[in-house]
């Protein structure tokens, strides 16, 4: 199940999505983290962020809505307190650091501040958070996105992945912008903006009013956007959105994803990461496929 992506080997295609696995350590009791493909950390910003008022999470039909507001410990404490644990405990699993900023300079400052540290492979740029002001600014403006990716590309030689927002009319355009600006890969997709209303109180449930919707409810949209992005670029794509089984992960892979991330499903059952890995192995055996990579993007589209 080893996959070579971004020029390095991942021991499996399953990663844990940013914001759902903290800084890794929180799941140390529950998931054999060093046996899976990898994890993507909670977003790291230059300065610590306080986050949004509660309620921050709530269940929605087939999923959840969240508006955490990128609460995080900030660059300095991430490097001093979180990265060393990852460096020591995740020696086989790959770590991507999710990076966020209000400006290009802030993104660049985080990358510069981490680049010589140990404990991670590369970066996932968060240009698609729906829960903070300006969170999707870079992800929905092709010019700003090109500028950001080019600038970070010039700052680091590590693998550089951009996490795309689904909230655009043509995701292929944004995928191409990232490719041309020098990104090594794409994560597709972040959460969908949504809103939930408490009809008894006649108020929004979420303190931030709106939030990002995730979970099984968004699976078909994620698969479709991954397929669109994969048709637009040659970059490796990490498929994300509603995965809770090997069959779900395979939909992303057949649509064109090289790797997948699991998020919301972890909250329901932490065993899901290993279960999806094993389920993919079983699928390969059942269909006599030697390498998962042979399936990437092979969904057969028949024209009548």
């Amino acid at each position: 199940m080893t996959q070579t992506v971004f020029g390095v080997e991942f021991q499996g295609p399953v990663l844990l999505a940013s914001g759902t696995c903290g800084y890794g350590r929180e799941y140390a009791d529950l998931i054999p983290l060093d046996d899976i493909g990898g994890i993507v950390t909670k977003a790291v910003s230059v300065a610590p962020r306080a986050g949004n008022p509660p309620h921050r999470v709530s269940e929605t039909p087939g999923g959840m809505i969240n508006a955490i507001g990128l609460q995080n410990v900030g660059l300095e404490r991430f490097r001093a307190e979180k990265l060393p644990w990852l460096a020591e405990n995740l020696t086989r699993a790959r770590v991507l650091v999710n990076v966020v900023g209000h400006t290009v300079n802030e993104f660049a400052a985080v990358v510069r501040g981490l680049d010589d540290a140990e404990g991670f492979l590369g970066y996932e740029l968060n240009v698609s958070c729906p829960n903070v002001e300006g969170g999707t600014l870079f992800g929905t403006d092709p010019v700003a996105l090109a500028d950001l990716v080019a600038r970070i590309r010039a700052t680091t030689e590590r693998p550089l992945v951009v996490k795309l927002t689904p909230n655009v009319p043509d995701i292929g355009l944004y995928a191409r912008v990232c490719e041309e600006a020098g990104a090594d890969g794409l994560s597709a997709i972040n959460t969908f903006p949504g809103m939930l209303i408490d009809v008894e109180r006649r108020r929004p449930v979420i303190g931030n009013v709106s939030g990002g919707v995730s979970g099984p409810a968004i699976l078909p949209m994620g698969v479709y956007l991954t397929w669109q992005a994969a048709r637009a670029v040659d970059l490796p794509i990490i498929g994300i959105g509603g995965i809770r089984s090997a069959a779900d992960a395979l939909q992303y892979i057949l649509a064109g994803a090289r790797l997948v991330q699991i998020g919301t499903a972890l909250f329901v059952d932490p065993d899901v990461a290993v279960a999806v890995h094993r389920g993919l192995e079983a699928y390969l055996e059942r269909h006599a496929v030697a390498d998962l990579a042979d399936l990437v993007g092979t969904v057969e589209i028949r024209t009548p």
Partner: protein, 259 residues
Amino acid sequence: MAGILRRRVRVLANSPAAAGTWWMELDAPDISEAAAPGQFVMIGFGLAGIDPPFLPRPFSIGWRGEDGRIGLLVREFGAGTRRLAQLRPDDEVLLLGPLGRPFTLPENRPLVCVAGGVGLAPFLFLVPEAIRAGADVRLLYGERSGDRVFDLDLVERLTGLAPRVYTEDGTVGRRGLVLDGISAEDGPELFGCGPTPMLLALERLARDADLRLQVSVEEHMGCGIGTCQGCVVRSADGRWIKSCTEGPVFERRELAWPE
């Protein structure tokens, strides 16, 4: 953070214990053994379906039996809790636990436990443990109406203590609010769990009488183990802190209390 367990466990009993309220016992030996009063479990149905509750729900560990049982007090609020109420013996659920920071037992001070509604749950575990430790314990328990009062014989059997009951309609116990039962005379340490207005009033009372108070709080939760940062409450120094790992039990001085 050592020792969070994920277990598929069997329902041993789930019986009505008041209007819309159920007492559920689960066969969870190692979680039971590791648990301390004030801690909680996440209970869920796994990933096979997406009917509510899709996300697991936090429940105070309300009592543990000597045979590896834990008890949960379930009140129906919506589709998720309704499904939990419908569980029957031999059904299976997923448990994650024990989670969170437990209560701290005071030394040489009486305990007054103040429970509002399903806020009774953590005290079904704390009270017998405190009695076993030799503490002087009182249990005050309030409900809006008599039909919602949890089976009092069961409370006494689980805790070894008859609670003093308050209802707003006066149909069971004393008419009034649970706070009416608090006396600051012998300098007790207060323990509170219940709806926000009750906790706010309890905090004011504790502050005015200069009493120590530990509260167990409730907030919408995603993961239960500190990764999603969904379940925050405001700290005294103005930060958002996680009720799942930094709580759910807090000293009143750790939290910000709106006037």
